[in-house]
């Protein structure tokens, strides 16, 4: 489903964030990307949803080299993906329901579809009864679950999360991981960048470790492998 071929990225300021990366991610995979701060995890993830372009190399998503996408094609690429960030990125002046509905609204989904899908995904993340609540009335874990609901409401093939549990305590982090596992079981490919050793070790999923812009390890049922 995703293939990175000889991908390198040098930022404008001369920092070489990634060099000659080769990764194949089959459909339905659950993948952790680990590495110390500044290793290049976020850069790797951003290139998959074309927030950043590689300096060289190809990135094939669903059989298409997204490096060559025209600007106007990028939104359509992203409609196949759900993206989750460390800082949740919810709209404070919208309710939980509205926050999730927003993702469908801005891609002009029919109203009926919104009314049907939003309660369903809220149910999936365990917030079935919180639709009318505002984000600032919720815990961090609940807010992140809203963000996850928003990421999956359009039935994406792929969910990408960049340090989704970075602001959460260990118990809550585990709850989030359980939800990811559940999403993955339904067939969605999951890519999670994280710092959390305990979680990576406990989940027993594929792990790609990045060190200074290079792939140090790529293991099925891997472990975090560092102390940091």
């Amino acid at each position: 489903m995703i293939e990175m071929i000889d991908v390198s990225k040098t930022y404008k300021n001369g920092v070489m964030a990634l060099s000659d990366i080769n990764i194949t991610i089959p459909r339905g995979d659950f993948l952790f990307v680990v590495g110390s701060s500044g290793a290049g995890k976020s850069t790797l993830i951003k290139m998959i949803f074309r927030e950043e372009l590689p300096t060289s190399g190809s990135i094939i998503v669903n059989g298409k080299n997204i490096v060559h996408l025209k600007e106007w094609e990028v939104p359509y690429l992203r409609r196949n993906m759900g993206i989750v960030f460390q800082d949740f990125r919810l709209l404070p002046n919208k309710t939980v329901f509205e926050n999730v509905a927003f993702a469908l609204q801005v891609i002009e989904a029919p109203r009926r579809e919104i009314q049907k899908k939003v309660p369903h995904v809220l149910e999936m993340v365990g917030l079935g009864d919180k639709g009318k609540v505002y984000p600032n009335q919720m815990s961090g874990g609940e807010q992140q679950r809203v963000a996850i609901a928003r990421a999956i409401v359009n039935n994406p093939l792929l969910v990408i999360a960049d340090e989704p549990t970075g602001n959460l305590d260990p118990d809550t982090s585990w709850e989030i991981m359980r939800i990811f596992e559940q999403i993955n079981k339904a067939g969605t490919t999951m890519i999670v960048a994280t710092h959390e050793k305990a979680i990576v070790d406990g989940m027993q999923k594929r792990v790609i470790a990045i060190e200074q812009g290079n792939i140090a390890r790529d293991e099925l049922k891997g472990v975090y492998g560092y102390e940091d």
Binding site: P75, R79, M81, R89, L91, E108, R150
Partner: protein, 295 residues
Amino acid sequence: MKIRTLEYFIKEAVGSIRHNGLMSLASVSTVALTLLILGMFLVMVLNLNHMAAALESQVQISVYLQDNLSEQEIAAVKQKISQLPGLKKIEYVSKDQALQRFREQLGEQQTILNDLGEENPLPNGFDVIVEHPDQVREVAQAVSNIKGVEKLRYEKEIVERLFTITRMIRTVGLIIIVFLALAAMFIISNTIRLTVFARRREIGIMKYVGATDWFIRWPFLLEGVMLGFLGAFIAVLLLTKFYSVFIGYVTESIAFMPILPSYPIVIYLGVFLLGVGMTIGALGSTISLRRFLHV
């Protein structure tokens, strides 16, 4: 575009206009002022052109005779004028007829003539009509050389002066309006910039969930267009009011001035000004979108 999407865009745009409060007010006022002034200049130029056209089509020359000419002398002048080429008609206008005519032109203001008492300052003369407006100048030249002719008046010379005035007004107006329009655009683009910053979180999310660039741009564009429209609307209302007041004033004080009636020019002007207003708004927001909305 779906109706519901349009509804969403309008809601967002109206929300932003309210949210920006004072800046929106400043934008609308500047547009209104700009277009009011533009409108006034246009009304002025249109009226001057209208006047020029009315005068230009005149084929009449008023010939005034020296005082104390005998009847034979007057007849001789008439004879000479009649022989000029291009002449269509010549009619004698006595002092008394001239005064009578003047009274009629003045209408209600004729009381100003009461101060004259029994005296009649107007001379005897002829109304000379030529075949074609182009011949006015030539005939006038010839008539002015005839002995016994004191003075003559024809509208063409006024026309030329009118054109000079019109040209001047046009140039001055253009400079002022370009300047004001730029100011209006600048203020609108600043207002939109505020909106972009207020909504940057939303914009970010929209990009990540796959909203198209145009979907993201539209509410901002609409906000600018709406600000421009509101300003233009106010300008049109004021202009319509001012113009009808002006017409009332002119017809009351200068009875025989050829002025354009309110209808239909305020309609045309209104449509034009609304168009200009919306364009200013659209350009203003485009400037901001280019600089601050990196989608």
